[in-house]
Symmetry: C2
Subunit: 351 residues, 2 copies
Amino acid sequence: MSKHQEKPLIAAALGHRPSRYPAWFMRQAGRYLPEYRAVRAKVDFTTLCQSPDLAAEVTLQPLRRFDLDAAIIFSDILIPCVAMGQSLTFDKGEGPVLSRPVRSGADLKALKRPVAAKDLGYVGEAIAKTKASLQASQTMIGFAGAPFTVASYMIEGAGSKTFTEVKKLLFTDATTLTGLLELIGDVTIDYLQMQVASGADILMLFDTWAGQLTGPDYRQFVFPVTKRVLSTVRQTTGVPVIYFPGQGVDKMHELKDLEVDVISVDWRTRLSVAQGVLKNVGLNVSLQGNLDPQTLIAPEALLRSKVRSLLEEVRTIAPRGHIFNVGHGLLPHTPPESLTTVLDELRRFQF
Amino acid sequence: MSKHQEKPLIAAALGHRPSRYPAWFMRQAGRYLPEYRAVRAKVDFTTLCQSPDLAAEVTLQPLRRFDLDAAIIFSDILIPCVAMGQSLTFDKGEGPVLSRPVRSGADLKALKRPVAAKDLGYVGEAIAKTKASLQASQTMIGFAGAPFTVASYMIEGAGSKTFTEVKKLLFTDATTLTGLLELIGDVTIDYLQMQVASGADILMLFDTWAGQLTGPDYRQFVFPVTKRVLSTVRQTTGVPVIYFPGQGVDKMHELKDLEVDVISVDWRTRLSVAQGVLKNVGLNVSLQGNLDPQTLIAPEALLRSKVRSLLEEVRTIAPRGHIFNVGHGLLPHTPPESLTTVLDELRRFQF
């Protein structure tokens, strides 16, 4: 048995039989936990991400409460943008704001090209500190935003409903858009390699806004750099990689030839639909997901029945491997006891 | 040749061969037109919808500029909510706000059950006035919001990113949610029948937020009432019906047994993917769509090539019929001359 196979999550990611059903929750560290809010009362979000002791502490908080198979390092997909020269703040309740949005070749040139070990070393330190507290069976997850999703924030300067600035750049200055995506790609590869060197056992690439492009635009502009990042980190580090194309199944139709171990499935998409589409494009991968995170506000009996339905679907479609998770990040109003309920139902389920 | 077949849009909707390629644009009347803004400078949005002369005027504005095959009556999917007792206002740049959100059985009971001919008669008058100005080959489109999308606004009281109140009701008081959906269904059937009696040649049901539920929740709670509305108006009025399940292809997987003539395809989804999914669930329908509305900000040459690509895709997949359109409403920053370019390229295309 390899070192990896001792960790149920890694076994499932690689399509081996895990010793137990691996489970974690996207945004399992965060605002729904009072102990997280207590830390945040003393320090702003960006400082928290940049302080290895505090980042490790909040990363470990959910593992003290819940029987989880993984820790995901507490950080934000926009932290590398800070190292690239933008400043990151959070509008009250409104999400992230990045200074100096990138909307021209000159804006692109003005960006710094960080070296992860130096400029993002605090993330590596936080991973090393967290890992020292994990059990051998628990998996340390590193992550980054996918190039298109990070680029969208860097161009818009904030979240957006219509992504008008992104599309303006796509339609009028594709050279700058491609240059930005390739730069983010380079930075992300270095950043993820550094995370593995610091102790990450698996890597996840979050492409939250993948759904904001048409199929042809995604395939032409976004797929090549996404594939390059995943293939490079997978080959150079030897750890498995997870890709999350957010906002539904549409972009899964565009993934032919992607080299990836796990596709994380948005809650909008039935796992059976995702599996059918991925098989059609030739991807034999493990699946992760995909309980609707809002389900965790449901009363206990309904929540348990939703967990059972999901597990029954997994049994029916029999993917190469399955990692139990939500289909998008937990929301701030999630009752913490719902995670206990979900995990209890998972452990009771008879396979 | 039947009366319907004289109208290219109706012919395409029914799968007959149209005398020319039918085209219109969702939100073709609206803020991107200076003549619309001139009307709106004098009257608020809700009053505009409730004034038949003004509503007919803005409905006809795009037909004076562009070579379009259809007029869609200027209104809003939330206008019936006003007749049901909520008041509708628009936050500056933020979208609609409905008073007294429906979040309990008592809130549901307090709603009025309007009679369309009386309480929404101004929409019928606007349709009759508009129709009097149309050429025989032009199609008069009536529309309504689909029950789930209208219910979402009525429950949230505004747009939402997370639809937490909708899901809370779904998970804790499904009886009230179902009661609300059925009430909206009844109101919508009456409302659409009245629109046909006033002159509408075809009806479109906008389900903008269909993507906000999981597949199982959509199929259990939303599909039955959606099917009831479409089947009833189709059978009682004899006009064809178009259904628009917004936010991607996921919910098209749930449409088995829907009785509908046209599926309008969101721009996130390739027409070829939509056609494959719809065939799989047994729907032999015409397609409408689906240029990304943001494409209209592209420079002319690129815009023309995107139109050609779409038409080439249609030629390849050969749907039963096709109505050219955008895959979601035009945005306020759309340059009006882009519509001329799109229609010119459509008319040049060699089939």
